[in-house]
């Protein structure tokens, strides 16, 4: 007997308890539902709740401990029936069924809200254990300080994290150098210069960029930007012959980040009070003087927060670098050379047939945990700055 069948039986019992609860309540009140404390429906739901909850809990417990024997099944059904009988006996005209139902619903709401905590805990725990396993097999100093990344299937791999970190930071830097000025200027133009009609066209246009999946950017890097940079910059300048490069991934990631930076900046600029603009314009400042000397300094903390969030996005981005950056772990300054990132290596070590006892696989979890830690710090910092900024003008 599978769990599905037991669930079906419980559903039938629940349906029965729904009608029994209602009938019992009305009978108690001598057929006049106005004499009841709560609406008849509340008695129905209160009965269902009391009937189902203990049985479902027991079922889950048995399922997890793999003890779902026929005897266990029987116990679940008996528990449900017993709970039904008890809850029916409890029904009197003064029984506060609504309070019972609402307590139950509130518990469900809290449970749903706790999924967020459970997810974070799941993320941390899932990576923590495997990371510890990894460091049992591989010296942590080697991991954090070695400048060589050379996994070998026959063992004796060198798994230094530094080249990956360098690639990640280099690509993110290029992306930000491109995206921050463009995004910021775009936001300024839309907020302070553009008329309503231009904004109605341009704003959705820029926002479309935000809705495009990263795999599309990745393909764009692979088939268009990479060859373009290789043929017109890298080869004529003698800097390399690879389509995949730090520059390719960085530029395309920069395009992806434009709407991110511009919409965050737009929000932040919009929060600067109009009275400051009026004050500056009233003194005879031009618009650009007002923006540079009053609005931007006032919005600076918020913009710094936005840039940090963008940096966190760039560091955690996967598909663009998988398709645009290359797979070679290198410590080089040449932006037209192929390099690799933390996320690329997580993908390459964890796809295909993985042996979860080998350090070459487990290293991905250590990389993941490091990535999580870096982005978490950036996010917490950025969110704190942005929140503080918002409070200032509320």
């Amino acid at each position: 007997m599978t769990a599905t069948w037991i669930l079906l039986i419980l559903l039938i019992i629940a349906a029965a308890s729904f009608f029994l609860g209602r009938a019992r309540a009305i009978a108690c009140a001598g057929g006049d539902s106005r004499a009841l404390h709560s609406l008849p429906g509340h008695y129905s739901w209160a009965t269902v709740l009391v009937t189902l909850l203990p049985a479902l809990l027991l079922l889950a417990l048995l399922e997890i401990s793999a003890a779902l024997t026929p005897a266990g099944t029987l116990a679940v059904v008996i528990l449900a029936l017993a709970a039904l009988a008890w809850s029916l006996r409890r029904i009197t005209p003064v029984f506060r069924a609504r309070a019972t139902v609402e307590r139950g619903v509130l518990a469900l709401l809290i449970l749903a809200a706790c999924v967020a905590i459970a997810t974070t805990a799941g993320i941390v725990l899932s990576m923590l254990f495997e990371t510890l396993n990894f460091f049992v097999q591989y010296d942590w100093r080697e991991f954090f300080l070695s400048a060589t990344w050379a996994p070998r299937f026959q063992g004796g791999s060198e798994l230094g994290f530094l080249p990956l970190l360098w690639g990640t930071l280099y690509i993110s830097l290029i992306a930000l150098i491109f995206a921050v000025p463009v995004g910021l200027f775009a936001a300024i133009y839309m907020a302070e210069y553009a008329g309503r009609r231009i904004r109605a066209v341009v704003k959705p246009g820029i926002e479309i960029l935000a809705g495009i999946p990263t795999i599309v950017y990745g393909l764009f890097a692979l088939i268009t930007v990479g060859p373009l940079l290789r043929d017109y910059f890298a080869q004529p300048l003698g800097l390399g012959a690879s389509g995949s490069s730090v520059m390719t991934a960085g530029l395309v990631m920069g395009i992806m980040l434009i709407p991110f930076v511009s919409s965050l900046s737009d929000d932040i600029i919009a929060q600067v009070p109009q009275s400051l603009r009026d004050g500056s314009l009233g003194l005879g400042a031009t618009r650009s003087e007002t923006i540079r000397q009053v609005i931007l300094p006032a919005a600076l903390p918020g913009i710094v927060g936005a840039v940090l969030l963008a940096a966190s996005r760039a560091i955690g981005e996967t598909m663009i670098v998988v398709l645009g950056a290359g797979a070679a772990a290198k410590l080089s300054l040449n932006p037209f050379e192929a390099m690799t990132t933390i996320t690329v290596k997580i993908v390459s070590q964890l796809t295909g047939d993985s042996d979860f006892a080998a350090p070459e696989t487990l290293v991905a979890f250590a990389l993941g945990l490091t990535l999580f830690a870096i982005t978490l710090c950036l996010n917490v910092l950025a969110l704190a700055i942005v929140r503080k900024y918002r409070e200032q003008y509320e």
């Binding site: 709401l109 341009v202 599309v216 088939i223 434009i258 511009s262 982005t375 996010n379």
Partner: protein
Amino acid sequence: MSDQAAARPTSLLNRGDHTARRHAAEARFRACGLGAILIGLAALAMLLTSVLGSGLGAFRQTYIHLPIHLDAAALDKSGDRDPEVLKKVTTIGYRKVIDAALVEAVAQAGIVIPGLTEDDSAGIISREAPAQVRDMALSDPDLIGETIQVRILADGRIDGYLKGRVSAESAARDSNVSLAQLQLADAMVERGLLSLDFNAAFLTAPDASDQRPEAAGLGVAILGSAYMMLIVLALALPIGVAASIYLEEFAPKNRLTDLIEVNVANLAAVPSIVFGILGLAIFINFAGLPQSAPVVGGLVLTLMTLPTIIIATRASLKAVPPSIREAALGLGASRMQAVFHHVLPLAAPGILTGAILGLAQALGETAPLLLIGMVAFVREYPGAPPEGFFDPASALPVQIFNWTQRADPAFVERASGAIIVLLAFLLVMNAAAILLRRRFERRW
């Protein structure tokens, strides 16, 4: 400056150099802003033309039109059309029949190409074609012994030639196609034996192996994505709305609430690949769910989408003015009744809009799916739900990634075509969200 009143009244008609410089700086600044907008729009235009340009070809496919005599002597030696016996004839048997049919058709059409061997002629037929014909014969055994007019796939190189991807120069460097074959293709096009038709199979057929890009389709990927979206919708929407109601309407100011708030805000910014690691470690390695299954993908995407839905739902709950709640409470409703009877219905359009946008985000997500095994080569359609949720499947964005990793350039066209399909889905979803917002937008 020392005495402000000295020069009064000053004329405004004297414009100094300083003012001119300031206006020049203003113009430069404004041009920078306009430049930034143009860069953004140009990037969008480049991206779309690049994808459309290389992807539209995937919706058309080169087919060979042939009469084939399904020779009973070769395909059904027993002669009683027993399906079990028919199945024993492999595609190799059908291949011979088709090759012969092509050679004959070419000869009948009077096409003579110097240096073209029979093997060369047969080489323009896709490796997938025998399976096509075999399926036809197995589904209707009475066809055996008859001569039927069929439409079979041409080889990827020939398809590329008709689409301009393969040329005489590139063929000279390519061992998989000869100049004679291209001349044959030209002659066949002239006589109506070869043509570019609409490629419906691109949307319905499963993936195909490296050697037959012409047969690769998105059927399994679209189905897999649809399954995952169903799971995301069924889980993320109720959980997200319930969590938002608690946080926005009931949560007291305490540590648990703060903890949840911080978690939601941070989860929204956690890199997607990290969710993939979570899925691999918890759902596959710990809970023992199967790899490549839509159920795992759906669960991972649910966790990823939750913060988006929670943030959108809370915003629309917040937009319902407190006076509505007070009115309900004033009539003696409980807080729960006030929320479920009055606030939630008023916030529903905003919640749905947020849910659609969350789904759109989940539909395009690739990285976490790579880690839970959805890159595997899957040719079988998953079964009907709910069992089908546990069958191996692919997903649209992963299929795109998969095709970018293949050697044959014909797969780039397939990947770009798949992106057009993906973007079309996203366009529909976003348009629905915008319509919903326009239709039900309420200003208090």
